[in-house]
């Protein structure tokens, strides 16, 4: 996919939206406004944004739990306000405050999310199956973490998708860690992408801090899938600037991750890198960038008002909610 200027601008906007909504989430959680927990994307927003910005509205995505899917929803164009409101437990939330952290926006192909890591794989196979059966060229993009790949569901899902040549794209957000365990201590090889060969599907590694590289790789896999050529695996090497979950110690095994290491990682901030690139390539000027940033700041403020003013759900909404009619 050759990106036009407006694509690159859209990518920037979505990346900054992901960043600023993620930062807002960190802040809101700190202020006690979230009803549950938050696993910040900070530093690792590019895979989610790059992997979704150019999808069709009717493509399915399974967002990764990192950032709770904010980067993915931002890229996909789903409703971020209701998603944040969900975290605040409000009736205006994407699940009416019932989950406290799940995205659900069927109009944008986000049909649900789960809390057991690795449950994404089989469900994504189902979306790929539906897409294949419907024959309208949709794809299902499944985002997952490096360490989620430890689950057997990954194998079952990837094998089924490959076996039936389903239009599924597997996007691994490899930030090198799974909670407190470095992936190098949980998987014997360097690249999660090495698993792709076991299913006869392409497996590529891209710089997950480079949102354009992610978008290119994922969209190449998406086009392949749309043509009926089956699934692919795109591994994005990315970073995590925050602890596994907000408020918890930032452990690596039993040691706290040193502040200097995080400072070092921050040199590869995906937003800064992309800003620099856009400036250097003359796509956007400093002023234009600031304008976008400002617009998003305003959006975030509006979102916070939206979350603030929303009411908490009344228990009655659960009354007849267990079953569909």
């Amino acid at each position: 996919m050759r990106f036009k200027k407006k694509d690159l601008v859209r990518l920037y906007r979505n990346l900054v939206r992901a960043r600023k909504f993620d930062q807002a989430a960190i802040r809101l959680l700190g202020e006690g406004k979230f009803t549950s927990f938050f696993h910040a994307a900070y530093g690792g927003e590019a895979p989610g944004v790059g992997g979704t910005t150019f999808l069709r509205q009717d493509d399915y995505i399974y967002a990764h739990h990192r950032g709770h899917g904010i980067p993915h929803a931002a890229g996909k164009g789903a409703d971020l306000f209701s998603f944040m409101a969900e975290h605040c437990g409000k009736i205006t939330g994407s699940c009416k405050g019932i989950t406290g952290f799940h995205a659900c926006d069927p109009e944008y192909g986000m049909l649900g999310a789960g809390g057991t890591i690795g449950s994404a794989f089989p469900v994504s196979v189902g979306w790929g199956l539906a897409a294949q059966k419907a024959g309208k060229g949709q794809v299902a993009v499944c985002f997952f973490g490096d360490s989620s790949a430890g689950r057997g569901t990954m194998h079952e899902g990837m094998n089924m998708a490959a076996n039936w040549r389903l239009p599924v794209v597997w996007v691994c957000e490899n930030n090198g860690m799974g909670q407190f365990v470095p992936i190098k201590d949980a998987y014997p090889l360097e690249d999660i992408a090495s698993m792709a060969a076991a299913y006869g599907m392409p497996g590529v590694v891209v710089d997950g801090q480079d949102v354009v590289a992610v978008a290119e790789a994922v969209m190449a896999a998406v086009e392949r899938a749309r043509k009926g050529k089956g699934p692919s695996l795109v591994e994005c090497k990315c970073l995590r600037f925050r602890p596994h979950v907000e408020g918890a110690p930032d452990w690596v095994h039993a040691e706290v991750r040193p502040a200097e290491e995080i400072e070092r990682l921050k040199k590869r901030d995906p937003v800064t890198l992309y800003r620099k690139k856009l400036l250097k390539q003359g796509i956007l000027t400093e002023k234009e960038l600031e304008k976008i940033d400002g617009e998003i700041d305003a959006e975030v403020q509006e979102m916070e008002r939206f979350c603030e003013t929303g009411a908490y759900p009344d228990p009655s909404i659960l009354q007849n909610a267990l079953y569909a009619d």
């Binding site: 994407s94 794989f121 994504s124 059966k133 079952e156 909404i317 267990l322 569909a324």
Partner: protein
Amino acid sequence: MREILYLQAINEALAEEMSRDETVFIIGESVQGSTFNTTVGLVQRFGPDRVMDAPISENGIAGAAVGAATAGYRPVADLMFGDFIYCCMDEVLLKAAQWHMLHAEKVNVPLVFKAAIGGYSGLCNEHSRCPEAVVLHHPGLKLVLPSDPYDAKGLLKTAIRDNNPVCYFYHKQLLPMTGEVPEEEYTIPFGVADVKREGTDVTVVATSFQVSLALGVAAEMEGKVSVEVIDPRTLEPLDLDTILESVRKTGRVIVLDEDTLRCGIGAEIGMQIMENAFDFLDAPVKRVGAANMPIPGGVLEKTCLPQPQDLANAITDLLGMDRFELAVQTAGVKLL
């Protein structure tokens, strides 16, 4: 009326619903060449895209069904033996069961988990279980247990049309059972118990193969004890009213269940009866079920699984009568 086999009734329901609705498809291991003959002939008629032979991947099959269901299809996920549900509990109990409500009713999960349950074939712990209690413990799944060909067909058609996830468990011992099934289309609503035999002395609540067992015992006791046999047919939704009505009449109840007692179907139905008809009870509700152990294979299986004599003893004990020996045998179909 014509008579067909239980397994044919299942097969007919599948075929009819697949013809009626293009979004229905079957996915599972060896479903084209049908392990229990319930899906025989379907691939020839509907093609391999609608009768999908999957890899041995229970999580994958169950999860794919959840995905496809939320995306507008009506998968029938064939888990083969009911025991294999243990390999995909996350998908069945935490995804299929919960996604509708948790996602604020924005998505539906219309699917059927179809599986062959039950023992009496000597196949030991992992090919003999009845996973009803585990399912029932988790809100969000409907639970269907047909005890004869008529119910097998009518309930499966309803299950496939339901907009919610349904566990449809058919019993291996019932596969060769014959029974009247009309040629004309029919469905059976969920939540309507069937009084399989009327009686006045004692109520036996049973589902699936245990209905046959109870009817056999009731027939043997005829003249001595008048046994009412109630088959709820679906445990979720549960037709408690019909059960309570019977309890008010007989004052004595046995819940017969093939599975272990602890936190089982008998405990639940027993509690609900006590909660709602305590004053009508002449004696505590009795549970008859499997012994508290993994299901053994071979000749020891019968030490574990409920036998006709166990039910007969429970009935006579409950009525304060002397025990007497029954002639009824539990079936023992060899499975292949």
